[in-house]
Amino acid sequence: MTALTERIPARFLPVLATVVLFVLTFGAGSASYEGFASGQVIANLFIDNAFLIVLAAGMTFVILSGGIDLSVGSVVALSTMVTAAGLKAGWPVPLVVVAVLVIGSTLGLLMGLVIHKFDIQPFIVTLAGMFLARGLCFLISVESVSIKDSTFRAVATAVIELPGGVTITYNVVIALLVVLAALYVLHRTRFGRSVYAVGGNEQSALLMGLKTARTKVGVYVISGFCSALAGLLFSLYMLSGYGLHAVGMELDAIAAVVIGGTLLAGGVGYVLGSLAGVLVLGTIQTLISFQGTLSSWWTKIVIGALLLVFIAVQRGMARGPRRRAILAS
C-alpha cells in the first residue's frame, strides 16, 4: 500500500467507524422491530436530538482546539430560563432570541478570556461557568416557567412535510444549518484551520504566526453561542424554562464528540463525526424505548461501553507509528 492511499482512509477511519456503527445499530433495530426502519423514526431521531446536534457541533470546536467546555448543559438551562422569563415578561420573540444568543456568547467569551489571559485550565474555568450558569437560572426563578407565547408555540409545533409523509420540525432545519456552518468554518476559513493547528500543537501554531489567542478564545465563544442556540431549540422542544433542564447534557455532548472520532487531545476530528455520534446515541435511546422491557439506565451503561470502545480504538490508532510521530511533535 502506498503512503497516500493509506493516509486518506486513516484520517476518516474514526468517522467511518461511527457511521458504520450507526448503520449497524439502526439495522439491528430494523431487523428486530417492526416499524423501526421508517422514515419517521429517522426524522424523530433528528427532532429529539436537534439541540444535542447543535451542542456537539460547538463542542467539536472546543475539543479540536484541545480544550473542553463543561458549561454547555448549564448554558442550555440558562437559555431556556431567559427565554421563558423574557416571554413571560412580554418581550417580543426576536428580542428574546437575540438576548439569549448574546448572553450565551458573552459567557463563552468571558470563559475563553479567563482561560487564555490567566492560563487556568479550561476544565476548572468551564466548571465554574457551569455552576454560574445554573445558579443564574435559579436566580431568575427556582420554579419551572412554562412558555405560553403564541408565536413561540406556533414555531414549536409547526411541522415541515417531507416527501413520503415524513414530518420534521424547524429545530431540525436549524440544527442541520448549524452543522453546515460549522463544516464551512472549520474547513474553509482561516479560523477553522487555526483551530486544528492550535489543537495539534499550540506552540507550533504560535511560531507559525497564527493568531492562537483569537482562536483559543473564539472556540469558547462559538461553543457558548451554540449552547445558547441549543437552549432556544430546547425551549421550543420542552416549551418551558427550568434550572434543572439539561442536567448532564455536557456529558452527552462530549460523549457524542468522542464517539464521533474526535481526539480529546485536540487537532483531529470532524463535525460530521459528531453528528454521527449524536445519531448513534439517539438510536440507542430509540432502541431501548422500542425494546420496552429494558430500563432507561441501560442507555447510560451502553453509552459508557461505547465510549470505552471508541477511546480504546483511538488509543490503538494513536500507538501506530504515524500517530506517534504526530503526537510526539
Partner: protein
C-alpha cells in the same frame, strides 16, 4: 507552601466571620447526651464526604490525573450496601454489605487505573466512562428504586456519634493516614515525581504505573466510604442523586487548596481548607436565607476568585502593577 495556603485560609476565615455576623450563635458548641453539637460541627459533618473524596482526588491530581467517576462510585457503594442489607437490622449484615461495597469500589478503582496506567488513556476520558456508566450500574443494582434500609449499625457510619459525629472522625482518620503514609515516607515524593514526568520517573526507577494504579484505587475506596456515609445519613440508596456533582466539589476543593491540576505537587492541608471552604459556603448560603440553589453562583465566584489569585499569570500582573504604582 505557607504562602500558597494564605488565600484559601483568608477565604475560609472571611466566610466564617460572615456566618458569625449573620448568626452570632454560629461558633457556640454545646454538649447534649455526650454529643457535640454546633455550627462548626455541622460544617465538618456535612463536609465529611466531600473531604474524603477530595483526599483521594488530591493524590490522583498529584499524578497529573483526574477522577470524574467518584460520584458514580459513591452511588454504587451506597446502592450495593443498601441492597445487601435489605430489610435486615443485623449488624453483621451491615458490615458484610459495606465490605462488599468497598471491595467492589477497589475493583472499580483498579479498572480506572487499568485504563489510565495500562492503556494510557487520558484520565479525564478514562474516568468519564465510569462516570457515565457508573450511575447506570447503580440503577441496575437498585433496579431504579430508592432502597431504604433500617439498620442501626449502618446508620452509625453517617449519623452516629462518638463524641463527634463518626463521619468526621473517619474523614480525619483518613486524612491523618494519608498525611503519615505520604509525607513521612517517600511515597508522597514518588507520587509528585510521577505527576511531573511519568516517563522520567519510570526511567529513574519509580514504579510509575503501580503508583498510578494505587492512587485510583485509593480514590475509589475513598469515594466508596463517602458513598456509605451519604447513604447511611439518609438511610437510603438513591442511585440517581447520591453523590451527584460531588466529583466537581471535590475537584474544586483540591484546586482551591492550591494543588495544581497540572500535577507534580499537592497539599493535603490545602485540600482540607478547600473542602471546608466549599462546605462553609453552602452552609453560609443556607444561614443567610438565600435559596439554596443559588449557592452555585457563589461557588462559581469563589472558584474563579481563588483560581485567579493563585494563577501565576494573574500574580505577575498584580505584582507588575504594584511595582508600577510604587
Amino acid at each position: 507552601m505557607k504562602n500558597r495556603l494564605l488565600w484559601p485560609l483568608i477565604a475560609l476565615v472571611a466566610l466564617l466571620l460572615l456566618n458569625l455576623v449573620v448568626t452570632p450563635s454560629f461558633f457556640s458548641l454545646r454538649i447534649q447526651d455526650g454529643h457535640l453539637y454546633g455550627g462548626l460541627v455541622d460544617v465538618l459533618k456535612n463536609g465529611a464526604p466531600t473531604l474524603l473524596i477530595a483526599l483521594g482526588m488530591t493524590l490522583v491530581i498529584a499524578t497529573r490525573g483526574i477522577d470524574l467517576s467518584v460520584g458514580a462510585v459513591a452511588a454504587i457503594a451506597g446502592a450495593v450496601t443498601c441492597v445487601h442489607i435489605g430489610t435486615s437490622g443485623d449488624a453483621r449484615t451491615a458490615f458484610a454489605g459495606m465490605a462488599i461495597a468497598l471491595v467492589l469500589c477497589a475493583l472499580l478503582g483498579l479498572w480506572n487505573g487499568f485504563l489510565v496506567a495500562g492503556l494510557g488513556i487520558q484520565p479525564i476520558i478514562a474516568t468519564l466512562v465510569l462516570m457515565t456508566a457508573g450511575r447506570g450500574i447503580a440503577m441496575l443494582v437498585t433496579e431504579g428504586q430508592i432502597i431504604t434500609v433500617n439498620n442501626d449499625a449502618f446508620r452509625q457510619v453517617g449519623a452516629g456519634f462518638v463524641g463527634l459525629p463518626i463521619s468526621i472522625l473517619i474523614s480525619l482518620a483518613v486524612l491523618g493516614l494519608v498525611a503519615l503514609t505520604t509525607r513521612k515516607t517517600a511515597l508522597g515524593m514518588l507520587i509528585e515525581a510521577v505527576g511531573v514526568n511519568p516517563e522520567a520517573s519510570r526511567l529513574a526507577g519509580v514504579r510509575s504505573r503501580t503508583i498510578i494504579w494505587t492512587v485510583y484505587v485509593f480514590a475509589a475506596v475513598c469515594a466508596g466510604i463517602a458513598g456509605l456515609m451519604i447513604a447511611s445519613n439518609v438511610n437510603a440508596a438513591d442511585a440517581n442523586n447520591a453523590g451527584l456533582w460531588i466529583e466537581m466539589d471535590a475537584i474544586l476543593a483540591v484546586v482551591i487548596g492550591g494543588t495544581s491540576l497540572a500535577g507534580g505537587r499537592y497539599s493535603l492541608t490545602g485540600t482540607l481548607l478547600g473542602a471546608l471552604i466549599i462546605q462553609t459556603l453552602t452552609t453560609t448560603v443556607y444561614t443567610i436565607g438565600v435559596a439554596p440553589e443559588i449557592t452555585l453562583v457563589f461557588k462559581a465566584v469563589v472558584v474563579i476568585a481563588v483560581c485567579l489569585v493563585q494563577a501565576p499569570k494573574a500574580r505577575a500582573m498584580l505584582s507588575f502593577r504594584k511595582v508600577a504604582v510604587s
